[in-house]
Structures are given as structure tokens and as C-alpha cells.
């Protein structure tokens, strides 16, 4: 540091000049600021966005999940809680009675999706979990996890990858 920098005053003036430039420029170019006016303006979701979870269902509406707890085992946040029960005579041997995901703990890593041997859980709703006013409401039960359908992507990810889009 030379003397000029050590005095600091001149540096302060330089700094003030920089911030002033930003201020004035932005005052007259408000449109060009990168901020989005959420929720009116929204960035398009990337095709492989990991949104809130969805438990997939068979054609008859029953859950594909067999309560194997591999997702709960893989989950690094330990936020999946499953209680299993005997399956129906016509269905799989084991099925979930309780399937809770604590969205406050979830880190959206999608390891649960990867772990599932039955393709029973996906994160393809394209939704962010909405805010809630109690911890209870952030624990998504089977009803919440089957409420929203998958989004249909105008440009499916695999087409992106092979350069067709």
C-alpha cells in the first residue's frame, strides 16, 4: 500500500464514485436490471428442474411405492419417513402406510429418485413447495405427494441433449 492508499480518503472517494455511477446509471436504465418481477415474471424452469416430489401411481391409482425405504436410506437429509404395511392381496407384498417428506429438511438432491427401484418417486412436478405457516404443513404426506401431476416439457431434456432443439 502506498501512502495514497494508506490515507484511505482518496480510495473512499473512488469507491463513492463507483457506487454513484451505478446508482445514476440504474436510475435511468431500470429496465436493464437483471431483477425479475416475480411472480408476474418468471424464468422458465429448466427441463430437469428438481421440483417438489411426486409419488407415481399405477393406472388403477394405487401407489407404485413398495415401502422399501431405499429412498429413506439414500436421503442425505434423513427427511423421508415411511411406515410400511402389508400389501393388498392383489398388489405388491408391501406398501406404504405413511410416507412423509419433511420439506424443511429436504435439500432437493434427488438421491431418493435415483435410489427408487420402482420409479415410484419423482421430482418432476416443476413446482416449488409453497410457503406455509407451520412446520407441520411442510411435512408432505401421501395426499400432498400425489396431488400434482408431472409437467409436460415443451422441450424434453433428451432432445436438448442430442441437439435436436
Amino acid at each position: 500500500m502506498d501512502f495514497k492508499e494508506r490515507i484511505y480518503l482518496w480510495e473512499i472517494v473512488k469507491g463513492l464514485w463507483i457506487t454513484l455511477r451505478h446508482l445514476v446509471y440504474n436510475l435511468f436504465h431500470q429496465r436493464s436490471m437483471p431483477t425479475l418481477h416475480y411472480p408476474e415474471e418468471q424464468r422458465p424452469m429448466p427441463a430437469r428442474y428438481r421440483g417438489r416430489h411426486r409419488l407415481t401411481q399405477r393406472d388403477d391409482g394405487s401407489l407404485k411405492c413398495t415401502a422399501c425405504m431405499l429412498c429413506a436410506t439414500a436421503c442425505p437429509a434423513k427427511c423421508i419417513y415411511i411406515e410400511a404395511q402389508e400389501g393388498l392381496p392383489e398388489g405388491t407384498e408391501k406398501r406404504p402406510q405413511v410416507y412423509n417428506i419433511d420439506m424443511l429438511k429436504c435439500v432437493y438432491c434427488s438421491l431418493c429418485v435415483e435410489a427408487c427401484p420402482c420409479d415410484a418417486i419423482r421430482m418432476d412436478t416443476g413446482l416449488m413447495p409453497p410457503p406455509a405457516d407451520s412446520r407441520e404443513k411442510f411435512i408432505y404426506r401421501i395426499e400432498e405427494l400425489t396431488k400434482y401431476p408431472a409437467i409436460k416439457h415443451p422441450n424434453p431434456p433428451f432432445l436438448h441433449r442430442c441437439g435436436k432443439l
Binding site: 463513492l16 457506487t19 451505478h22 446508482l23 440504474n26
Partner: protein
């Protein structure tokens, strides 16, 4: 029974001045938020609305005020039952009181009575300001201690040390100006700055005492706990320092205290170093002659407003430009740079005055 004009004027002023100061808070908050947003290439808060009018985000401070008022008055379990509530008042009241002696225009004459344009006019005005302003630190120290939270306590202790260090420099750095003008009365000080220097420059404190001005501004930042000297709050290391445990209206009182003391300090800077209510190159008499008394008063108020407006903006501007000092840097600056410089400044000023006026 007739009520004397001076009494009516005193009551009116005693109401109007604090109200004006408090009303500046929302505007300042708005400028601070939007200004900082633009400095940082953001848009800033612009959502609060009445119907579809957002007034460029001006409603946010009002929404905040409503929120503060209606929040639960909460006391942490182990906080002190009396001092915890006392602290915010101890911060906001002295900063309002300090405003009392700041003149916003020259005296006016109402039906043969001379009325000052400050709440009260004291011969020792500047001493009063410093005396009252130093009570504020008690509020912060008490808040830190009474919250029974380690971060708050650290914040309180920091603020105590910081205030002691910088109050000294604050007082010493203005001594030069006081020596030159030979008065402690702020109105007299302002009036004294109406003359011209070498026939061109207004005889403002800043031109006579440039070093004193710089030191005073630095000390003001430290006094107001504003960045780069906001160590008592130190969000990144102390959460929110002395007011970590405060919420709702009590928090808003700290908030108000900070902004009111910004107003006080900006007015002080303007009065001491920038001629106070003086319109440059125009004395009261000259203005009276051209605009009449009302026009003169209004233009003086406008001049004063412009001046403190600039310094208020400076407070905000600096906050969004400079990073926080480290604690040791703050202390070193206070004791090893600002204080000696202030002393040297007084010495030199006194010598020069002595030489100029003859022994």
C-alpha cells in the same frame, strides 16, 4: 387573558420540530432501500400498495411501521424486566432532544417579538447537543446487557468503547470552528458564516477548518453507528448486536433513534461547517430586502434542507460503499489518527488566531 406570542411559538416549535424529524425517517428509509438497491443493480422494495399505487415503494416504511406497532411485545425469558424496556427509549429520546437547538433559519419577527427558528436557543447550544447525544450510548449499552444474550452483550460493550473513543474526537474536532467564531450558540455560528472570505467564498467552517470537518464527519459516522462503523450491530458476527433480542415496536425505536441521530448529526455538520441556514452569498438583510421576511425565511429553510439532505445522503451513500472496519482498526483510527489530528488542529487554529489577532 392574552397568551404571549413567544409562548405560543415555543409550543408550536416544540411540536413541529420532533414531528418533522420523525417524518423524515420513512423518507430516509425509502431512500436508503431504493438507493442501495440501485447501487447494487437491484430494484428494491416496490410492492406495498394502496389500490394499485405503490408510490415507488414509499409505502414500505409505512407498512413496516404498522407491522412494528402490531407485533407482540415480547420479552425474552431471562432479559431484565425493567432495563430491557428502558433501553429503546434511552436511545430515541436523547437523539430527539439533541435536535432542539438546531436553527433552521434566522430569527423572524412576529408582531414585534423576535422568534428563533429552533425549539430553543441556548448560548451553549453545541455543548448541549454533545451532552444529550452522549446519553444515547447508555441506551445501547443497557440494551446489550439487559437482553441477556452474548451477542447483544458484545454489541453493547463494543458500542460503549466506540462511543467513548469517538465522542472525544467529535468534541475536539469542532473546537477549531468554535474558536474562530467565538461562540457556542448554533444560531450565532450560522450567522457568523454569512460573511465572505476574500470577497468570493462564503465564510463557511469547511473552508476555514477542512481538517476539522473531515475529522468531524468521521466521528459522526462512528457516533451514529453507521457503516463503516456499525460494529455494535455487526450483523455478520453479532447477528444484530445490541438489538438481537428486540422486536416489534421496541426494535423500531432503535431504528428511529438511529435515523434521528443521523438527522441531528447531518444538521450539525451543516450548521458548523456549511453555514447552517445561510443562503450562499446572501445575508439575511439582503434577502429580507429582496424577498420580504417570509420569502427570506423560506429560502433559508430550503438552503438548510438542501445541506442536511446532502449529508443524510452521504450517510446512506457511504454505508453502501464501504465495508465494515475491524474492531482493532476502528480503535486505532479513533485513538491514533483522529484524536491526535484533532488536537493538532486545535493547536494550529489557536496559534493562527493568536497571531492574526495580535497577542
Amino acid at each position: 387573558m392574552t397568551i404571549e406570542i413567544p409562548y405560543i411559538a415555543a409550543v408550536l416549535k416544540a411540536i413541529a420540530f420532533p414531528v418533522m424529524a420523525l417524518n423524515m425517517i420513512p423518507v430516509l428509509v425509502w431512500i436508503e432501500r431504493r438507493g442501495s438497491a440501485f447501487i447494487q443493480n437491484r430494484i428494491g422494495p416496490n410492492r406495498a400498495n394502496i389500490g394499485s399505487f405503490t408510490f415507488l415503494g414509499l409505502l414500505h416504511p409505512f407498512a413496516d411501521a404498522m407491522k412494528f406497532m402490531f407485533k407482540e411485545p415480547f420479552r425474552p425469558e431471562n432479559a431484565h424486566p425493567v432495563f430491557y424496556f428502558l433501553a429503546p427509549a434511552l436511545v430515541v429520546i436523547p437523539s430527539l432532544m439533541a435536535l432542539a437547538v438546531i436553527p433552521i433559519a434566522d430569527h423572524v419577527w412576529v408582531q414585534g417579538h423576535e422568534i428563533s427558528m429552533s425549539v430553543t436557543e441556548l448560548e451553549y447550544g453545541i455543548a448541549y447537543v454533545f451532552a444529550v447525544a452522549s446519553i444515547g450510548v447508555l441506551g445501547i449499552a443497557i440494551a446489550g446487557w439487559a437482553s441477556n444474550n452474548k451477542y447483544s452483550l458484545l454489541g453493547g460493550i463494543r458500542s460503549t468503547a466506540q462511543m467513548i473513543s469517538y465522542e472525544l474526537s467529535l468534541g475536539l474536532s469542532v473546537l477549531g470552528v468554535l474558536l474562530i467564531f467565538g461562540t457556542l450558540d448554533l444560531n450565532e455560528l450560522a450567522r457568523g458564516q454569512g460573511a465572505l472570505l476574500w470577497g468570493v467564498l462564503p465564510k463557511w467552517g469547511v473552508f476555514l477548518q477542512p481538517v476539522g470537518f473531515l475529522l468531524f464527519v468521521v466521528a459522526c459516522f462512528a457516533e451514529a453507528n453507521r457503516l463503516p462503523f456499525d460494529l455494535p450491530e455487526g450483523d455478520s458476527e453479532l447477528v444484530a448486536g445490541y438489538h438481537t433480542e428486540y422486536g416489534g415496536f421496541k426494535f423500531s425505536m432503535f431504528f428511529m433513534g438511529e435515523y434521528v441521530s443521523m438527522v441531528t448529526l447531518a444538521s450539525l455538520i451543516a450548521t458548523l461547517f456549511f453555514g447552517g441556514w445561510q443562503v450562499p452569498w446572501m445575508t439575511t438583510t439582503a434577502l429580507d430586502a429582496h424577498l420580504g421576511e417570509l420569502g427570506r425565511t423560506l429560502s433559508q429553510i430550503a438552503a438548510f434542507a438542501v445541506k442536511i439532505g446532502f449529508f443524510l445522503w452521504l450517510f446512506i451513500w457511504v454505508r453502501w460503499t464501504l465495508p465494515r472496519f475491524r474492531y482493532d482498526q476502528l480503535m486505532r483510527l479513533g485513538w491514533k489518527v483522529v484524536l491526535p489530528l484533532a488536537l493538532v488542529n486545535i493547536l494550529v487554529t489557536a496559534l493562527v488566531l493568536l497571531l492574526a489577532n495580535g497577542f
